[in-house]
């Protein structure tokens, strides 16, 4: 027992905690991606753009309310709703006509959408770096395990993550729309045949998925510079997580995010020069042994 505790050094504990806080944002964004992938069967490359728009909207809202605590809380509520409005417009005007198309077409279309969104963001917000300040109650850090710092904002993320996970579970298991959407994921013709308006079910699911992307953008905004191009790195990771977890499985997204976040933070400890390879190595290993992902894919 002693040796086990000795092995779990303060450094490792600290990296695990840091990795978990990183997992939260990955999970929020990739669960939205997975939801859309599972129910609507759209590999939405533009998901990352909605995350970026969420971050930019957080910047605007937080500045409108003076940039302080109030600004942050308002951004947390209003920016995801703003993203939901954008996604609603996109779904009704474009995506709803394309659900029957083949995946390659959808991939190309959503990629095109990501470029369009990128340029729209540039037109609205410009090319400057934007920054959302960390709300003052979450500023600073505390010393954990052997004096290693842990930002207070990351604690906040560690609280938000499980809350979102529980809400998602309630949504998919306890609500009518959740049940219908799970049924639609399995057999959409049958759901239509029993008299349910599948089009609106899809629209709702699409908006919820995009809302999650927007929420991820708001939550990440205080820790990074809000800038064009922040969508690219994230969408790559989100897709890998979804593939690793099992396409369309929201809990797979959670598992994938955990693996991605933790292998990275622990990998840095093992081999700092090549810390970035570990999450990708994990993806390779998972796909070698479970080509359809860790959990049951809905595809």
């Amino acid at each position: 027992m002693e040796s086990v505790l000795g092995f779990i050094s303060p450094k490792i504990l600290s990296q695990i905690l840091v990795g978990l806080s990183r997992t939260v944002i990955l999970f929020i964004v990739s669960s939205g991606l997975s939801l859309i992938l599972g129910v609507l069967r759209i590999p939405n490359v533009a998901h990352g753009s909605l995350y970026m728009i969420g971050a930019f909207m957080a910047y605007t809202v937080s500045h409108l309310f003076g940039g302080g605590n109030m600004g942050f809380w308002m951004a947390l509520v209003l920016a995801p709703l703003g993203v939901a409005v954008v996604s609603f417009a996109a779904e009704r005007s474009l995506f709803q006509f394309l659900y029957e198309r083949e995946h390659l077409m959808l991939l190309l279309l959503t990629f095109a959408m990501s470029l369009v969104f990128g340029d729209l963001v540039k037109m609205v917000w410009g090319g400057e770096y934007r920054s959302v300040p960390v709300p003052s109650i979450f500023q600073g850090y505390i010393n954990l395990f052997g004096g290693l710092p842990f930002p207070i904002y990351s604690f906040f993320l560690l609280v938000v993550g499980p809350v979102i996970a529980i809400l998602l579970w309630l949504l998919t298991n306890k609500t009518k729309i959740g049940k219908i959407s799970r049924a639609a994921a399995v057999d959409r013709e049958m759901v239509g045949a029993v008299g349910i308006n599948v089009s609106w079910v899809f629209a709702t699911v699409f908006i919820i998925g995009c809302l999650l992307a927007g929420l991820g953008g708001v939550l990440v905004a205080p820790t990074v510079s809000v800038t064009l191009g922040m969508d690219h790195t994230l969408i790559m990771e989100a897709f890998l997580i979804v593939i690793m977890g099992g396409l369309g499985n929201v809990w797979g997204a959670l598992l994938g995010s955990l693996i991605f976040g933790l292998t990275q933070s622990l990998g840095i400890l093992v081999w700092p020069q090549f810390g970035i390879v570990f999450p990708y190595l994990a993806v390779v290993v998972v796909l070698l042994f479970r080509p359809t992902g860790l959990l049951r894919s809905t595809w």
Binding site: S131, P133, V134, P149, F150, I268, Q273
Partner: protein, 405 residues
């Protein structure tokens, strides 16, 4: 297919109209073609180059132009893609018949255009690309480098850091060419100037990394005296935010090239970390001279914002183009290039010389540390140490050594 042929026809027609127009113009103007990235994150920097250039051109044209001709410019967006950039440079030279090319922020594009202008004998002013190959290995008669490069930034930082008491260094950065080049530039030169320094470890993260906390805790656990952080673009701000959130900036001092620049500090407002060391070629508030104040006032009047480093590049490029032609006495490319060699001009940061041997503009470098400033809404550089161009730019022999093959 039909649609494509229509498009092709339309564009040919349009081009021919443009050609006729440009030929009619060519007789009495000097045409400058600007190829640069005007979409995506790089616009943070490139818009300043263009605005600085425009400002100078307007002044030159208002005072009668050069040799009775006005400067005319046309821009092309290379979208941060070397193949597009090269195609646009070719189009500007062959169809638009520009006399001069300038740009780009992308080193790969710059090197591609450099090969092309060497053959076409078109003077090319590089604004912002940071690869040291541009003047060294790939340098030639027609290329002028108007900014610092990674080797120079590294040397300047090393000169300043060698005077500091730090011994145990950690190196961290964005895992791409710019990051590695900056880190190597600082480290190799620091080792030469102060052999007692030792490297405790290295960390490399992917470009666009959003969360630096796991990296920072790992670096802190190793207890280095100082960290060289080789980030670029949005990584600059991301790392500073993480340094603030984890208290890194109070525990271990670190250096980033351009850490003190307005583009990095202004977005963070009062929340940027204090005590970060950085090098930069330009501040709107330093040096506190009449020339700089006048330049800042002009720029602010025209664009309602403070000029940043790119504005100086663009502004000085236009000045050198004007003075080069004046000295050459006629519109002749060879005479123009020769005229520019060794020319020095007054600038907002003092006299600047284009070195004869490698066509490198010798800019002063300012080493400073971030600090809150009651006068501004954002942090500024303080304790500025000026490192003159001749002290940190590699010598002619060192540069030309790379060119011989």
């Amino acid at each position: 297919m039909k649609r494509y042929s229509f498009l092709a026809l339309a564009s040919v027609l349009l081009l021919s109209v443009l050609c006729v127009y440009s030929v009619s113009q060519a007789a009495n103007t000097i045409k400058v073609g600007i190829v640069d990235t005007y979409t995506g994150p790089a616009t943070t920097f490139t818009n300043d180059v263009l605005d600085g250039f425009k400002l100078a051109v307007q002044k030159i044209n208002a005072s009668g132009g050069i040799l009775g001709r006005k400067i005319e410019y046309t821009t092309r967006d290379e979208k941060f893609k070397p193949d597009i950039g090269l195609a646009m440079a070719k189009e500007l030279v062959l169809k638009e018949k520009v006399d001069i090319l300038m740009g780009t922020i992308n080193s790969a594009t710059t090197l591609a255009i450099s090969d092309f202008v060497r053959k076409e004998k078109i003077p090319f002013f590089v604004t912002f690309a940071k690869s040291d190959k541009i003047v060294a290995e790939k340098g030639h008669r027609y290329i002028f480098n108007m900014n610092e490069n990674t080797e120079m930034a590294g040397r300047a930082a090393a000169i300043a850091l060698a005077k500091k008491p730090y011994v145990k260094y950690w190196i961290a950065g964005d895992d791409y060419e710019y990051g590695h080049a900056i880190a190597e530039g600082v480290w190799d030169n620091l080792k030469k100037l102060k052999p007692s320094v030792q490297k405790v470890g290295e960390t490399w993260w992917k470009v666009g990394e959003a969360d630096f906390t796991p990296y920072i805790t790992q670096i802190l656990a190793a207890k280095p005296d100082f960290i060289i952080v080789a980030t670029g673009g949005s990584g600059m701000v991301n790392f500073q935010k993480a340094a603030k959130a984890t208290g890194l900036s109070q525990k271990v001092p670190f250096y980033q090239h351009t850490a003190t620049e307005l583009s990095v500090l202004a977005p963070q407002g009062q929340n940027a970390p204090e005590g970060v060391y950085g090098t930069a070629n330009y501040f709107f508030y330093y040096p506190d001279t009449a020339q700089n104040k006048a330049f800042v006032a002009d720029f602010k009047k025209a664009y309602n914002r403070n000029p940043r480093i790119g504005a100086l590049y663009g502004y000085m490029t236009a000045q050198f183009i004007a003075e080069g032609y004046k000295k050459a006495g006629k519109i002749d490319k060879e005479k123009f290039v020769t005229a520019l060699e060794g020319m020095s001009l007054d600038s907002p940061v003092g006299k600047l010389e284009i070195r004869k041997c490698d066509h490198q503009l010798l800019l002063p470098m300012y080493f400073g540390v971030t600090k809150k400033d009651a006068k501004y809404e954002f942090l500024t550089a303080s304790g500025i140490e000026t490192i003159q161009g001749k002290d940190y730019v590699p010598s002619c022999e060192e540069v030309l050594k790379h060119r011989k093959k």
